[in-house]
Subunit: 223 residues, 2 copies
C-alpha cells in the first residue's frame, strides 16, 4: 500500500539501493517531525529536505508534492505502529490491519479495537496523525486523500469481517456493513480527535457490545 | 449559554446598549470570517478589531483572548443555525438543542439527527466550525474548551433523552447513556469531519435503527 506514487530508480546496484532506502527513511522522519512541530501549512519540501540532509531534487524525484511525501510517511508510520502494537494473534497476517476471524465476532472486534486504542495512545503516532487529521478537516483534498489511502482500506477490513459474520448468522443480513462498522469505530475516532472523552479497553469493549446487541431491550416481545 | 466570559458595561443607556450590541455582532461576524479565511493560528485580536471596525480595547474589554471571542462567536452562530434549521416540532423549546420526548425514542432521535444533518451542511456554519474543529484536533486546550462549552452541553441532551427512555423501558437499564449516544452521533461527526462518507437523512435514520436494535439477529434464541 505504501509506495503508490513514485519509487527509487529502477534496477539499482545494492549500494545505491541502500542509499535510497536510507534517504527515504530520513525523508519520512523529517516530514513527520516537521509537520508535528510547525503544522501542515508551514511544512515545505525545502524544510523536509534540509532536515533530512538531502537535496530538494531527491524529494521531487520520488514525490510530486508535500502532501504525497507526508501521506506516504504517515502510511509507513501507521503500518509500523500497527505491527508493533498488534496482538500476537494478529502478527504474521498479510496486512497489519487484517481482522481475525475466530468465528466469535464480538471477541474479534474487541481485540482489534483494543489494538487501535494502543495505536491512538502511542506518542510516536499521535502528534503527526493529529497534524494530518487537522489539515484534512479544513482541506477537503488532503482529507479525501487521507481517507482514500489510509482510513478506508482499514475500514474495508471491518466490512470484510462483518460480511463473514453475516454468512455465519452473527449479523443480520439486512445490515449495511459499511455503515455498521461506524457504530464502534467512529465513537473511538471522535473521542480521540476531539477530546470528547477518555479512551480505554473497557470503553471499546462496551461499544462493541452496544453495537452488536443494541440499546433496546431484547426478548420475544421486542422488535 | 453564550455569554459566560464578559458582558457589555452594566446599566447602559438604551443608546449605548444598542451600540454595544451592534459592536458585539460585528466582532462575532469578523471573527468567524477571519478564522474561515486564514485559519485559527493566523486569526488575531488586531485582525478581528480591524475587520469589525472597532478598537482593540473594545474587544479586550469584553473578552480575554482570541479563543474566547471565537468560541463565543461560534456558540452564537451555532445557536442561531440550530434555531433556523430546527423542525417546527422543536421550535419554541427552551434550548435549540433540546430533544423532544414524544414517547417514541426512534422517531425523536431520527428527528434531531436530521436537524443535525441540516446544520452540518449549512455553508454559514460549515467553514468556521471546520476551522475551530481543526484547531481543536492539534490544540488540546482549544479542543477541550470547544467540547466543554459547545459539544458536551448538546450531548447531555441525548443523555437526558436516553435516561427518559430507560425509565420508559425503551432502552436497557444496564446501558451507559453517555456512551450509547455516541453510536449515532459520532458516525455522523466523523463523516462530516473527515470526509469518510456522504451525509443524508437516510444515513442517520439507519444509524438510529442499527444502534437501537443492534447488528446481531434478534429472537428468542439470541442473547
Amino acid at each position: 500500500m505504501a509506495h503508490t506514487s513514485a519509487r527509487p530508480p529502477q534496477k539499482p546496484t545494492p549500494d545505491s539501493s541502500r542509499r535510497s532506502e536510507k534517504s527515504r527513511r530520513a525523508i519520512y522522519a523529517a516530514a513527520l517531525t516537521l509537520v508535528t512541530e510547525v503544522g501542515y501549512p508551514k511544512t515545505t519540501i525545502e524544510g523536509i529536505a534540509a532536515r533530512a540532509g538531502v537535496g530538494k531534487q531527491t524529494i521531487y524525484r520520488w514525490w510530486s508534492s508535500k502532501a504525497d511525501v507526508l501521506l506516504e510517511a504517515f502510511i509507513d508510520l501507521s503500518a509500523r505502529t500497527a505491527e508493533a502494537t498488534a496482538r500476537p494473534e494478529v502478527v504474521g497476517k498479510q496486512s497489519p490491519y487484517e481482522i481475525p476471524d475466530t468465528g466469535d465476532l464480538e471477541a474479534d472486534l474487541k481485540l482489534v479495537l483494543r489494538a487501535m486504542v494502543d495505536e491512538l495512545l502511542d506518542p510516536a503516532f499521535e502528534a503527526p496523525s493529529r497534524a494530518l487529521a487537522a489539515e484534512g478537516v479544513v482541506n477537503e483534498q488532503v482529507g479525501r486523500e487521507f481517507v482514500g489511502k489510509l482510513l478506508e482500506p482499514q475500514l474495508q477490513q471491518y466490512v470484510k469481517r462483518l460480511r463473514a459474520a453475516q454468512e455465519q448468522g452473527a449479523v443480520r443480513t439486512d445490515i449495511d456493513p459499511r455503515i455498521a462498522l461506524e457504530l464502534f469505530v467512529s465513537p473511538l475516532a471522535q473521542r480521540w480527535l476531539q477530546f470528547t472523552g477518555p479512551i480505554s479497553y473497557e470503553y471499546t469493549d462496551r461499544l462493541v457490545e452496544y453495537a452488536l446487541y443494541g440499546l433496546a431491550p431484547r426478548g420475544p416481545a421486542a422488535r
